[in-house]
Each structure stands twice: as structure tokens, then as C-alpha cells.
Assembly symmetry: C2
């Protein structure tokens, strides 16, 4: 059983109550606990030694990463982060300096985004370090952007450049909180998600509920310099486009807006965030499935991103 | 470095913001995010295979336990639980039925206490199962009970019977949510904590901030039947009193009230919760340290609970 099948199994018939606006299945859970005009956003995320980082990873970056991942999910709903709890599971013989440095990196990022660290839990995991964050945020009710909500014809945008995150971006990325709030304040995006598993897979989450499709323009996909360099350096090389479509941990925003606002969005964005790339990569279609267009026409693009071009 | 020293190291100079009412160091973090008249309670807790449960533990009880532990912390502040996220880290070769049963137990308890399960996270921990819960609750601002707040002369009460939890109680205990709310509604307790590390240690948390002490009456400590049976069955035996003072995972409430309400509290409790024992075990004193009184007088009781009686 793979992770997706497991999640499907476990999220069936979950207990619920009147406070739940959106349960499992979006970037954050959305709750209405009576804050006037605002929803609560609630998210948890974990990273594990040997999988998301190694003993060679600078510890400050480990701490930074685990919080940044969660912040990226708050960003994906156009929210603001408020407070976090940190759970750290450690082998019995841990290095206090290493652990302290994890918190140094985590706390510095928290400080920068105004997030209070309000406690947590230490426990034992004999073989490896595991860190889990629980993060609370809020969002204005009418500004909360979900994964679903796009309509055929909507323009699809992505921030930054994609692919090759494993080379370092996954430890240094900037959660796009300010960008997402600005977007929600000025352009009513119709759907949004942060890219954690790769564009080809994550785009499906915007289409699922309403059985929509998407048409992407091959030459428009913003490929990172790192993905291009890797392709030159490695043999056999992963084509840079494939890296941009399928590499995980980009933590960029993928969102849709009505096509009529696409041009003014690009104009406004360049003024507001001159250092953050924003690219229109295609549009939502009524026909299910994702298709990639090049000079020879459209080709279906499976979730794993492999498209065979002549 | 032990766990306490680590926590002291990590909770120094944590980032904070205006929403924080109580950060690290109480049963839950307390936040004011603008819910009229109410605080948010925020708590996380983790259990690990081989430490808090084994592969032989019925999986329903594993799921029940991890949520019940967190609920007990919400109870300790007289709150109500609203929503939880579940993080489960699994070896690659997991048994889907085992994992499903963990959720069955967890969901059943959530349902019973009106808690919505609003998502979470699955990840890999190659050697053992680890489950972490992040729980949100709320409490009326004027009813929120902290660990600190007791005054010299206050009566000290404990629910249930203590000791020997490892024999089964740690998998079956009832989080005392209704009891705690009733208490806060009718008797303004001055401080409260749930017993997770044992009475002798946890009592210190009620005394710390204001450098108070406590005098306990040896014959009043409610010892569980299991602790008494274990003492008879085992050799060398742990004296039942010592088990009641130091065994972990009782998850009962320890709290203080002004002495003038002690009698009416006991009367009211017996009518309201006839099946839950409530015992006055002593009183708060202005002199720091915990002392245990028997027929020969007072003896100091160290945090590890060992007291040598003639």
C-alpha cells in the first residue's frame, strides 16, 4: 500500500463537528471557532532524518526547513501564521549543540514571520531524529483560497523556478506568505496550492474535485538554473523540463485566476515582488486530464510527468 | 543531558507575539486569537513504539491512548477539545490493518468527546511507529486553570487512584474533561495539572513559580488496587505508596482549591461523579518543599518519591 492509498484509507469517515469548514484534503484544515470574520488554519508536518535531511545537513537549516514547509501551507491558503508547537524525537545519545542549532534556525524563521513558538514535546526515537511542527494561522474568511474553485478558462500561474530543489533550495526556500496575501487582497485567485510533490502531481489537486483539466505550454514552464545545470552535469541526465514538472520540494505557489485579470496581475506582481518570478504556464480546461503543448500540438501528461517528445 | 535539561535549554527565549497568553510550561499553550470571551488551547503529544506501546498492544488502544493523553492536557486547563491533526510515521512495510485499527480507536474516542479529526500527515520512520497528535481546544477566559495560582492553605485534591498504570490503565484511562469543567464552573480551582510523570514530580509543577511547598498526608494518598496487587505479587516489591507517588501515566487531575470550599466540593463531587474518586491529600504551604506526614510527623519527600519510613 502506498502513501496515497493509506491516506485515502485513513481519511474516510473521520469524526467531524460544527467547527470544521475544511477537513483533511487541503493545504491546511480550516476551522471556524468564532473569531469574528476569520477562519483558523491548522497544519502539521514532519521531517525525518535520512529522508528529509541527514546528519550532514547544517542543523539550523533542518529547523528552518520544518517550519518553512508548514508556513508554505499557510501561504497556500493566503493566511498568516500565529503560533507553533515543536515535537522533536531524538536518539538517547543526542548532541545538545546539534539540537540547539536546529532550534536556532527554526526560531529565527519564526521570528521573521511573527510566529510564536509556544511549546511542544520531546520524546525518544532511538534510531533517528524526527521533528514535527503543528502550526496555527488565521485568514480572513472571504480571502481563504482552497485547492478547488478554479473554472475552465482560468489562467494558471506559478511562482519561482522549478526543479532541482534537492541541490539546496529545499533548505533555503522562502515561504510565499506575503505574496499569497497580496494576491488574495488584489486578484481573488480561484484556487491555490503550494508545490511539494512536483508541478505535474500537485496540479491534479486543483482539478480533482470538479473533474477539470489543464493545458500547459511547454516553453512557459519556468525551469530552475539548477535543474538545467544538473542536466548538463549528470549522465544519464534528467531532462530539465521533466525535473521542473516532477521534482519535489519546490514550495512555490501554483494558483489560478480568471483570465481577464492575468495581465494586470503580472504587471502588479512585477512592481510588488520584483525579485520573485511569476509565470503564466497555461489554462484550466473543462476536459479532464493535463495536456502539454509544444510546436507539434498537445500531448497528454501523466501525473508522474513523463512526456515523450520527438 | 536529560529531558528536563533539554527542555529548559530549548524553551529559553522562544519567539513570541501578542497572541500568546501562556507559552511553553503549562499543560497547554494558551492563545488569544480574538474569539470573544474564550482562549484557544493548543497541545501536541507523541507516542513511540517500544516506549509508549509495543507491537503487542491492541492497535485500537494505541490510537485511543495518543488522543487521550492530549485530551487530558485540555482537561487540566478546564477546556473543551475541538479538532485534532494526526501525524503517523511508519516503517516502509507496515500492516494496513494495524494502522487502520489505530485510527479506529482514535476516531472512536474523538467522536465521544466531540473532537473533529481534520487531517494530518503520514511519513516514514523506518524502525518503529511514531504517532503525534496536535490538538486544539477552547476555554472560557475566566475559567482557564493554570499550573500556578495556588496559595498557602489551599487544599490539594486528586482524582482516581494512583500507581501501577503500566498494567493497563495507561491504555484505558478516561480523560477528565467533564470533571474539570464542572470543577471550574463551581469551585474556582486555584491550580491544576494532569498526572503524567507521577504525583511526587508533577506536584512540584504546581509549586514552582511561587516557590510554595506542600504537606501531604501519607494515609490519604489514594493507592490503586493494581499497585497493591503488584506489591504482593512481585519480589522485590515496590511499596504501593511509592508506586502511587512515582508511577507515571495516571492521567488523573491534581488540583488545589481554597480550603473553605473543600467540604462542599467533596459533597458536590460525590453527587456529580459518583464513580470517580476524589481525595483531599494535603495542603499547600508557604515553606518550599514537599513533606509527607505520618503518625511520627513530617518527612521531606524528594521529587523521585523515595521516603524512608521506619
Amino acid at each position: 500500500m502506498n502513501e496515497l492509498e493509506l491516506i485515502q484509507l485513513l481519511t474516510r469517515n473521520l469524526p467531524t463537528n460544527d467547527s470544521v469548514v475544511t477537513g483533511a484534503g487541503d493545504d491546511c484544515a480550516v476551522l471556524d471557532l468564532g473569531i469574528p470574520e476569520r477562519f483558523l488554519l491548522f497544519k502539521t508536518d514532519a521531517i525525518v532524518e535520512g529522508i528529509h535531511f541527514t546528519r550532514e545537513t547544517p542543523p539550523e537549516k533542518i529547523g528552518r526547513k520544518v517550519l518553512a514547509r508548514c508556513l508554505s501551507d499557510i501561504a497556500a491558503m493566503a493566511g498568516s501564521a500565529s503560533a507553533a508547537l515543536v515535537t522533536i524525537a531524538l536518539p538517547k545519545e543526542f548532541d545538545p549543540e546539534f539540537v540547539k542549532s536546529i532550534y536556532t534556525g527554526l526560531n529565527a524563521l519564526a521570528q521573521r514571520f511573527g510566529v510564536a513558538i509556544v511549546g511542544g514535546e520531546t520524546t525518544t526515537n532511538p534510531e533517528r531524529i524526527l521533528i514535527s511542527i503543528a502550526l496555527l494561522g488565521t485568514v480572513a474568511k472571504e480571502k481563504c483560497i482552497r485547492r478547488h474553485g478554479s473554472k475552465p478558462g482560468d489562467a494558471i500561474f506559478v511562482t519561482g523556478h522549478l526543479g532541482g530543489s534537492i541541490e539546496g533550495h529545499h533548505l533555503d526556500f522562502e515561504p510565499r506568505l506575503a505574496e499569497a496575501r497580496w494576491l488574495a487582497d488584489h486578484f481573488t485567485p480561484t484556487s491555490m496550492i503550494d508545490l511539494s510533490d512536483g508541478l505535474a502531481g500537485d496540479l491534479r489537486h486543483l482539478l480533482e474535485r470538479d473533474q477539470l483539466g489543464a493545458e500547459l505550454l511547454k516553453t512557459a514552464i519556468p525551469i530552475s538554473r539548477v535543474a538545467k545545470l544538473k542536466a548538463k552535469a549528470e549522465s544519464p541526465a534528467k531532462p530539465p523540463l521533466l525535473a521542473a514538472l516532477t521534482d519535489g520540494e519546490d514550495f512555490e505557489l501554483l494558483f489560478t485566476v480568471p483570465s481577464r485579470v492575468a495581465v494586470s496581475l503580472l504587471d502588479g506582481w512585477r512592481k510588488q515582488f520584483p525579485d520573485v518570478a511569476l509565470t503564466c504556464i497555461g489554462k484550466i480546461s473543462a476536459t479532464p486530464g493535463v495536456r502539454l503543448r509544444d510546436k507539434d500540438g498537445y500531448k497528454p501528461m501523466p501525473a508522474h510527468g513523463y512526456v515523450h517528445f520527438a
